[in-house]
């Protein structure tokens, strides 16, 4: 959890129970596509095999603490959407480790976990953020 990164999600609904998101490192025209996230309701999450569930994370803390928000959207409207997101689970995979200064997407993908309680987030990152995702899972490649 020592490496944390700012992430801008661009999401679309596949249906009411699932969204798929592209993750960029900033909201600009030259933003780098650093990963993706799938978001499902608890109902769908519970259908996953037990071996799969550890690669997913809950969104409850991120939403309730305010570190996850919808830039530019008025409060009451944002709240309605975030009420749904708070009850969902996500699988986030990053391919490009821009936080360590990589100029190109090197190495293996990283599965990202979410913040789940106070004290995990670096204070310096708390200003102007969308969501913070410390990593704990590792993909390895075998020949």
């Amino acid at each position: 959890m020592t490496r944390q990164v700012e992430a801008h999600h661009y999401c679309g609904h596949l249906n009411e129970d699932m969204r798929q998101c592209l993750i960029y490192d900033r909201p600009d025209a030259d933003a780098r596509l650093i990963g993706l996230e799938y978001i499902v309701t608890e109902e769908l999450f519970l259908t996953l095999p037990d071996t799969e569930k550890p690669m997913w994370h809950s969104h409850e803390y991120e939403v309730k603490s305010g570190v996850l928000f919808l830039p530019g959207v008025p409060g009451p409207v944002e709240r309605k959407d975030l009420e749904k997101v708070a009850k969902t689970y996500g699988k986030t995979i990053h391919f490009w480790q821009v936080d360590r200064g990589d100029e190109l997407p090197l190495g293996l993908p990283q599965v990202m976990m979410a913040l789940t309680r106070d004290g995990q987030l670096y204070p310096s990152l708390a200003k102007g953020i969308v969501s913070f995702i410390p990593t704990i899972g590792v993909f390895v490649i075998r020949f």
């Binding site: 661009y10 596949l14 959407d81």
Partner: protein, 238 residues
Amino acid sequence: MASTNAEKKGVPPGKPVSLGSQMLDKGAQMLQSLTPIKQMSQHACTFALYSQDMSRQIETHHFVTRINQDFLQCAVYDSDDSSGRLIGVEYIVSDRIFDTLPPDEQKLWHSHAYEIQSGLLVHPRVPEKVAMPELENLAKSYGKFWCTWQTDRGDKLPIGPPSLMMSPQEDIQCMVKPELVKKRDDKYNISTNAICGSRTELMGPGRLNPMADYWREHNKCLAVDVENTEMKKLTVFP
């Protein structure tokens, strides 16, 4: 509210998007700039193979953003309609950039020359003449493609670690199945064979880097696995 049978069988399973969600989405679209995703300037349709099992081949739809002359990033879907599932991400670099990567990194990448020369990669509904400058660029490039949702094997949700994908080559063990190509051709009313004939002058990189398409020289496939690791934490939890 319990799901109906039809909703349970869909891929992914789930209820149709509610009116409330649609309105929230429309509202957000009006208020937010969505700049990064508006930079997608190309749609390419091609085929890819799972590096851990090259008999598994998929039709892919790449929505491409050019970042600079040497680098493109692609959101990859399994179809080009509104129900298309996001199945992965591909990064594309010029041969100039590829040659600077460390060899261990190069092993994860694949070349594009054959895929383009053979007509497997097309820009749907774009005349060949218009697409040609971009095809010339792409023919010399290398790609790194991670697939995160194996819809071809019927997964209703994205399960498992990402798969490293490879590109079609002229080797017999990775030829794209004719029925897959036909299905694509019929959908767009094109002929891959005819297109191949018109691309004879397209050149690949000056020297095809032997570290790309690692399996060809080394007869070894690359599979990704998950390993649990000690979590490094900022604070100690009570």
